[in-house]
Amino acid sequence: MTAEYEYDDLGLVAGLEIHQQLDTATKLFCNCPTALQEPDESSKTISRYLHPTTSELGELDEAALEESQVEREFEYLMYDSTCLVEADDEPPHRVDDEALAVSMEIAQLLDMSVVDQIHVMRKLVIDGSNTSGFQRTMMVATDGEIETSEGPVGVEDLMLEEESAQRLTETESGVRYSLDRLGIPLVEIGTKPDIRSPQQAQEAAERIGMLLRSTGEVRRGLGTIRQDVNVSIAEGARVEIKGVQSLEDIEAIVRNEVGRQAELLEIASELDERDATVGDIQDVTSVFEETDSGVIQGALGDGGKVWAVPLPGFGGLVGREIQPDRRLGTEFSDHAKRHGAGGIFHTDELPAYGVTESEVEALAEAVDLDPAVVGEDTTDAVAIVADDPETAEQAIDAVAKRAETAMDGVPEETRDATEEATTRYLRPLPGAARMYPETDVPPVEPDPETVETPELLTEKTERYQDEFDLDAGLAEQVAYGQRWALFEEAVERGVDATLAAQTVESTITEIRRDGAPVENLTDEHFRDVFALLAEDELAKEGVPNLLSALAENPELSAEAAAEQEDLGSAAEDEVREAVVRVVERNAEQISEEGMAAFSGLMGECMGELRGKADGDVVSDVLREEIGKRAD
């Protein structure tokens, strides 16, 4: 499975869908703030049901239909930061101007054309993640392009849409969601299927991420950007992979998905050679009445049944690995789980799990297969599901359907990325039928002329090196970080550029490592600190202590904190007094070592002054004082 693939030969075609939350003041369709909340801050809970509806063309979406087959009750946590719009108890307001402006700015960076008239659509989503049962989404721009080292990648379209509610937990009767996240503006950028290698996929994702952050208007942090990857190979099928957590995983996920599709194609051709078929599903409970298998016993004890599907020609293939640690049988199992079952057993892995050899034989006979050819290293297979009667029957039916598609090759579907960079079945691919107009919001005629072009982070990095003489690493850190605006302000008011850059980046990292709660530091804190530096009221050595003090006591002003920490910039006579004290304490050492004692005593002097003096000044005075005594 670790084989390297020749992606060109396999005909790899991949595209990306990048979802990025915008950092606007309010949500996309109401005036609620975009701040996230802790579930225990919730002030109210409501519960709802959802029912599928048809599109304006009278069609029902397959993915929505599958979702609706289980009636579930959805619980929603509300907060003082949510309103009736999130609760679907008030029509949406008009499209947020700020979000629209940012999305047009992004469109421009991606070299896209903004459409003449934007229509807000409802995308049917009835897993409860939207209280309305749909996600509001609108196509803002089309047809752009980005550069990668392996050639240009087209950008198909850019959507502005509302973020879904955060899924908190499964409940007895359904799912619990939190409404704080619902409605935060989100852009979805879809590339054309121009990507030809896993490395290029990752590079394209990184490039788009950099362009997004260049606007300075996107949210940062865990979960604020998500990547979906669409992958297919020649003869394979389009597979949409959701929930790729980090950019670093993209390459591995694409590689593993290519592997899966290649293996599935091989399995299909072998099934074809063997004239494999999928038999009729049937109740085989009687075979397991005396079973020692804990799983089956448990199901039967609760009045459950065992259902089986005979798979002549599938022997050995159900157990074949198609991704690291995932077999064709795992795919069958995913579909069974989707219908509520705990999983499946198949004869490629039996006898095991308490199922005996004689039960496997009896099972083969029960489904009219020759026991001699059922099992691993043979030609035939049987898959079984044990659960309550309805679940078992529905689940084995889903397994049978998935087995049918195995004979055709790779099914088109939506899959979920796992932590191991493999994927599992999530749901059918959603179609156009799940989209219909949001009639509560009139179409918008945007004016792309009003959009400003931001400086790219790559350009910013270069400018910081040229203009401010920052070294490349620090320049990049500041440009890609979240405080470049504060940095520029500080330099503007006369603070040394390197000092300002260190203050907003490396110093923060250091004091965080030492345990300071740096998340408490506001822009105002930084501005105050820079003001003290600019007016020479603070020595640069005092910056870490002052920021730590402010992080601990965010209610203090920088001035008050400096005073509390005794960090005022010491006058020269104060410095001299301190240096003289140190020098006199160490008179013996100085007379023995002369100027060689300097570096050891420098540290002691700085400690004596506790960071409130400039190191250069202290150094000058110390040299002078040692000089006097070393003669």
Partner: protein, 413 residues
């Protein structure tokens, strides 16, 4: 080139392919792309080519064959009467607005959860938004309900837009003496969204219609959650919120009863008229020359000019039932000329008492009838009915005919 055609639209160096949709705006071509997104393109700047004509019948949609529901002798028969409104609405793609296009059978198709609760008979009395409702439609509706009950319906569910549901429910309350439940229901969130309240409201309304209470009731969400519907007496309900599911409230008391959605259980808080206690009778006459005028500070007595010669006038006064003292002579003249004048309060909750302050006493002297604790809208509908059916309007307006007046003020009950 027509709506429903598959088209290709070239705009500068971009190409869009999809189904042409009706546009609400001459300047734009609206195309539904294969991704499902709609996009508007400047008609002047774009060149459109028809790839295939009439791919979709936009006007009617591709509606599937209707299912034939079998009659079950063990189940009660409920008559579903549609008047239009959100519960039976779909999107009008020409205007983009939501309009009513469904008949009652479509509702059955739209709300499969209704299956198995009753046998249904569908009937369409009107297909209008509730703001377009008129007294003559109330009369048609009363007649239709009467006919349905006479034909054996064990209960009636009326699907109605929520905006004026309380007026229609009041009218039916006065016009019909009923041996079976008559339940009004609707939805605050349109039926074309998965989160619509239509499913739960319709199911709960059918449960209420098969219950023992031969009352005219409104059945709508009791809270923001999909758990309980409240049953409001038709004459005491009011829409008190523009958009919430639980917009309706019973004024002055707790609702008459509730329907638990999960348990499918109907319970009542107070006494009600039992099934088959009352013989079916229809009194559909209305005197429609009745006005409702709201007094506000500074409003001139000339506001009453258009009311001259009217058969009836309901005033929505302030507090206990007051208007500017300048209005009193004018009201006196109206009463003198034969107009029946009833006082109600814009407080909505509480009872009229024109005996506390001088203004009130002067109004009584002028011949104003105290509207007790009637809602202003209900009082107006009642006055129409009383003037059309009773010889003693002054006496009839002061006493309860259909639960519109309570004799004891007990809001905690």
């Amino acid at each position: 080139m027509n709506a429903g055609d598959r088209v290709r639209v070239d705009r500068d160096d971009q190409t869009f392919e999809g189904v042409l949709l009706p546009s609400s705006n001459e300047a734009q071509l609206v195309v539904k792309l294969d991704s499902g997104y709609n996009v508007g393109l400047d008609r002047e700047a774009a060149t459109a080519t028809v790839l295939e004509a009439d791919v979709y019948d936009i006007e009617s949609g591709d509606v599937s064959d209707q299912s034939t529901v079998e009659f079950d002798d063990d189940l009660p028969t409920i008559s579903l009467i549609s008047t239009g409104g959100t519960i039976a609405s779909t999107v009008d793609y020409r205007t983009g607005a939501v309009t009513a296009q469904f008949d009652a059978e479509d509702v059955l198709r739209a709300v499969p959860e209704l299956a198995g609760l009753a046998n249904y008979r569908g009937r369409v009395v009107a297909n209008i938004l509730s703001e377009n409702m008129t007294p003559s439609v109330w009369q048609d509706l009363a007649e239709a309900i009467h006919d349905e009950i006479q034909a054996g319906a064990d209960g009636v569910v009326v699907m109605h837009g929520t905006d004026t549901m309380q007026f229609t429910a009041s009218a039916i309350s006065f016009m019909l003496e009923t041996p079976v439940p008559i339940v009004f229901t609707g939805s605050q969130r349109s039926a074309d969204r998965p989160s619509s309240d239509n499913v739960m409201n319709a199911v709960a309304a059918v449960e209420a219609a098969t219950s023992d209470a031969a009352e005219v009731m409104l059945c709508m969400h009791a809270a923001e959650s999909d758990d309980v519907c409240a049953l409001h007496r038709g004459t005491r309900a009011r829409k008190n919120h523009t958009s919430r599911r639980d917009a309706f409230e019973t004024i002055g008391r707790k609702p008459l009863g509730v329907v638990d959605y999960d348990a499918r259980e109907v319970t009542f808080r107070r006494e009600y008229a039992e099934r088959d206690e009352t013989a079916l009778a229809l009194h559909a006459d209305l005197e429609t020359d009745v006005d409702l005028v709201k007094f506000t500070p500074g409003a001139e007595p000339s506001m009453l000019d258009p009311v001259d010669g009217a058969a009836g006038l309901v005033i929505e006064g302030t507090g206990l039932g007051h208007v500017n003292t300048d209005w009193i002579d004018r009201i006196d003249a109206l009463v003198e000329a034969g107009t029946t004048v009833v006082m109600t309060s814009q407080c909505l909750d509480g009872r009229i008492c024109d005996r506390v302050y001088d203004t009130g006493r002067d109004l009584l002297d002028a011949g104003v009838i105290e509207g007790e604790d009637m809602l202003p809208g209900t009082a107006m509908v009642k006055l129409m009915w009383v003037l059309g059916n009773r010889d003693d309007p002054v006496a009839a307006m002061g006493k309860p005919l259909a639960g519109e007046i309570t004799d004891r003020s007990v809001p905690w009950e």
